[in-house]
Amino acid sequence: QQPVQSPQAVILREGEDAVINCSSSKALYSVHWYRQKHGEAPVFLMILLKGGEQKGHDKISASFNEKKQQSSLYLTASQLSYSGTYFCGTIKTSYDKVIFGPGTSLSVIP
């Protein structure tokens, strides 16, 4: 079942902060975050594992609430380069497939 992402789209001015949310109705093993710029491949940002381990981008932070099956991606002091579509991907067990959400479009303007 596809995770739900919110908001669908957001426009920020440079320097502003944003939070992108991802939620699932199923118990999760991990949540993955990717960013895709227009016409390009998705790029890995972060993995949040059940139990609290995180791997990923130094300048991006995220959280994973295992009880609520929710994850949030925090983008602080946004830069123009943060523009793109952010996808969360959820995994139920360590060898399960990734199910990607519909994406959140983020536009950062000067």
Binding site: S94, P102, G103
Partner: protein
């Protein structure tokens, strides 16, 4: 270090035809996954190959098939093309154990079915 490469970049086919897309994984990666991404949507998982075998499969018909070679490169074959198969096809490679390791995506093959 070369990342994930895919060929061709673009492809135009006619309904009913067959197509083969190719992917070379990032050096050191042994697992290849294929995704279909329609315009404005998230990537949809087609299948995953590990040690030359299909390990996982998404909700795609048997018209979609694949192969992994001993050097870990992979092919995606789609038979009897439909208009609805028009999409960006992404290949991603990773180390084993998906849940723990990141995937590296290739630039994709844009397939147009007319």
């Amino acid at each position: 270090d070369a990342g994930v490469t895919q060929s061709p970049t673009h492809l135009i086919k006619t309904r009913g035809q067959q197509v083969t897309l190719r992917c070379s994984p990032k050096s050191g990666h042994d697992t290849v996954s294929w995704y279909q991404q329609a315009l404005g949507q998230g990537p949809q998982f087609i299948f995953q190959y590990y040690e030359e075998e299909e390990r996982q499969r998404g909700n795609f018909p048997d018209r979609f098939s694949g192969h992994q070679f001993p050097n870990y490169s992979s092919e995606l074959n789609v038979n009897a093309l439909l208009l609805g198969d028009s999409a960006l096809y992404l290949c991603a490679s990773s180390l084993d154990a998906w849940g723990t390791y990141e995937q590296y995506f290739g630039p994709g093959t844009r397939l147009t079915v007319t």
